[in-house]
């Protein structure tokens, strides 16, 4: 399994987080788990590096957080949810990303089948 470029990861992590939180409030660990789950462990990053992203997004006003209860263990956990700004930003980013992916795909995809043909 190849690891995607770290630079690429950092740029996309914010968007992933926003996307996951948009599904509903979650604590940090659960956000990390969800990323791994959705990416089938392709994005197997250091779990801790999720937090600077969370803090940055919160500072930027895209997320907000509060102390809540982890439903499983009843232990105190920091719960993150999306702000209105965050939701708007997510929409914009997703649009941009989709456009980007489409563009790149068009450049890259044709070569893919040729790989094994030689």
């Amino acid at each position: 399994m190849t690891h995607p470029n770290a630079e690429l990861l950092r740029g996309t992590l914010d968007m992933l987080v926003l996307q996951i939180v948009s599904e509903g409030p979650r604590h940090g660990y659960s956000i990390g788990q969800r990323i791994q789950e959705l990416t089938q462990d392709v994005l197997s990053i250091e779990q801790g590096s999720l937090y600077p992203a969370l803090y940055r997004l919160e500072k930027a006003g895209l997320l907000r957080s509060r102390w809540g209860r982890n439903p499983e263990s009843n232990r105190r956990a920091r719960i993150y949810e999306l702000t209105a700004t965050g939701r708007k930003r997510l929409g914009r980013d997703v649009d941009g990303w989709s456009a980007f992916v489409r563009a790149i795909s068009q450049v890259i995809s044709p070569r893919v089948p040729t790989e094994g043909a030689e």
Partner: protein, 904 residues
Amino acid sequence: MSWRFPPWGWWRRWQAQRLERRMAEEFAFHRAQERQRLETEGMPSRQTWRAADERFGDPTRIAALCRKAALGEAALDGLNGIHGIMAGGGTSMTFGHDLRHALRSLGRRPGFLAVVVLTAAVGIGATTSVFSVVSSVVLSPLPYPEPERLVRLYSAEIDEPDQRNFLPGPDFVDYRERSGAFAAAGAFYDYSDTGLDLTGLGTPRRVRALGVSAGYFDTLGVTPLYGRLILQEEEVGGEDDLYGTRVTVLSHHLWQELTGSDPGIVGETLELDGEAYTVAGVLRPGFLDVLHGEIDLWVPLNLDPGGRWNDRRNWYLSAVAQLTPGVSVAQAQARLDAVLEELRQEFPEDRAEQLVQVLPLFDDVVGSTPSTLYVLLGASVLVLLIAAVNVANLLVTRGLTRQRELAVRSALGSGRLRLVRELLLESGIAATLGGLLGVGLAYGGVRALLAVSPESLARAEEVSFDLRLLTFAVAVTFLTTLLFGLAPAVYAARIQPGDALRVGARGGDVTPTGRRIRLGLVAGQVALAAVLLIGAGVLIRSFTALQQVPLRFDPEGVLTFEVHLPDSRYGESRKRITFHRQLHERLRAIPGVTEAGATSKLPALGPYNIWGVAWLDETGEEQWSPAQARVVEGGYFEALGIPLLRGRFLDERDRADAAPVVVVNQALVDEVWPEAAEEVLGREIRAGSEERRIVGIVADVPYDHLGSVGPKFYMSHAQHGDNRNWALTQVVETEGDPRRVVQAIRAELATLDAELVLHRPAPLADLLHRQRASQRFVVLLMGIFAAVALALAVVGIYGVLAFTVVQRTREIGIRVALGARLGQVLGAVVGQGALLAAVGLTVGLLAAWMSGHVLDSLLFQARARDPWVFLAVGLGLAAVTLLAGLPPARRAKRIDPMVALREE
């Protein structure tokens, strides 16, 4: 450096701290969740720790990134970075910041703070107050400034250098003038039992007078309230005069009684023994003439070398002196020896065999070993140590619960120095609060102790804090608090962040050392408490033994009082004898009175008049033996219930003109005629400077409060009343409360002689009681020490066991879940307590056993190594220790396994 708007800085710092706490908790939560997940995937629990840590990544770096993300560019380097910002505010801001942080940290655990502060305060307060009272009231018999400079002067003979003889007047003057050893020296004439008749001011009365030289008051550091004291030029009088110039200094109490506190008395005259004396001054209240007790007034001695009294061969004066500053007792002795050597040249016949002795006044009054002081000082230090150990234990325990917090902060880049500073501040605040409260307690304690102290000891104005001990106590508390308050910082530095973070949120012992320290401290505390309790126990046994000393006479229902007969009207002994006989007849006629008599000295209140008796042995050789003399009158023996063993009591037959007789006690018979006790009656002995026939033998009564008995002989006042104007103490036996007859007695006295004063009426039982008061007070104080020690030890043991239960919640939960019986769970907790108690007790009992000799000199009919006391203390302390383990054990019992497991 740029100036910043302070609230902005505070806001930033507050934000930064909130962030640190949030990160610590969030990261910990994250890893806990990851561990749980790994476990459910089947990873062995032990491996999950490391795996979760690895997956999380480097917390330091992540935290730094988070700070940067959350706080912006300014926060570069964690908390150290915050300090970077604050550098603009200077170090005082750093301190202020740390102070606030420390206060908040303490405020989060008010219970803990309260226990530390209270323990420290009790340690300081109890120790200082008890010791202050003891040292200044009970054990400072010299209520004078600079008592260590006070000495007593005696003469002695070369053969018997330990003698404490009187000094001739001129010798005293020579020592005073020529030696240069004394800043002040005072002679006094205290041989006389009699006083002076005071007339010319209100009711005539007999007063206790003391003839003193000019330097007497200066020596004792007394200043007058009004007027002046006695001057050196007043030490002159006529050839036959004992006293010098006719001036007098009044005591405060006499001045109050005579004039109702009128300062105008100074310069007035009053009559003493029919001569006019000018009042020179009035002394301050609270001046206590320790050498003589209650003196009413002082008059100058006649030290004129031309006077009859001041013959070089008349040894009649006692003397005290205040050493010149810088002169030691030994140096003073050397200088006096030099003066005496000069006198030997001048008067070879009289001085060749003479010595002069300089003795510290304290030793003279107390004896050379103030062991009570040392014992109580030792007890104070023990209590202080126990308190310090408790504080240390609390702090170490607290430190353990904070390991995690500190490890996280350390891991997140908080400088060690920073943590140390913060912890120091926290401990410092706790120590300061404890110290302040302790000083307050010490102050209140002194007041309270004075309130319960026996009347005779209540010299409130003299009690001052023992500053040395207060300083010591506060210093010990501070050092302990600061030292042990740092324990968490030591842990935090030693522990790998990963390890600490793995420990459950409630904290626990990571290192076995920490655990050993805490358990050792508690065991040590039990040991110290054991030593104190044994000391107190032994003293209490000694005291009860003292209470049970057989008095051999019956003080119940007996009233005592004095009547002083002024020489002006009772100059002839015949009149005094008649007065006493008439008085006793009248007293016996009072309803409720069963017997009346009088004595020159009551029993059990101290030795007196050790005159001795002389007799002829079988070979016709004269023998002499020391014996105490008593002059008695009326039904003295009957009133006190002193049994007659042989012959008869003294009675009306023994008139002044009858053949002189004497009654002796059994001890004298045993001493003089141990073989021929049957033939004692009718024998002649010389007693009270006259040949007297023995007419009776009475049982021994003790002459002091320790129950000591010794040879004693009793003479009839009728046959010895001309010796002097005896100040007899009247003894009235009554049915019921002796105080009820005081009024009737006063009335009878008035009909006999309206001008006489009923002096110091008091039940005999009260007088005996007062005699033991100081001893009882010492026992009470030791009891307080022991109780405080016990309480602190219980708190210590309870604290450690309670902490253990919290720490082992999970383990206990698992054991209960696996079916452990309640008894086993309880046993585990109580067992630890029992182990602590056993170790502590063993050490404590051994220490007490080995140091037992310290107490020996204080004990009366009790052994310092009393096995019963050891047994009682051992069992009692063990029981109390186990009881202290019960509440934590009960808590352990209540642990719900499900909750306990989830907690982790």
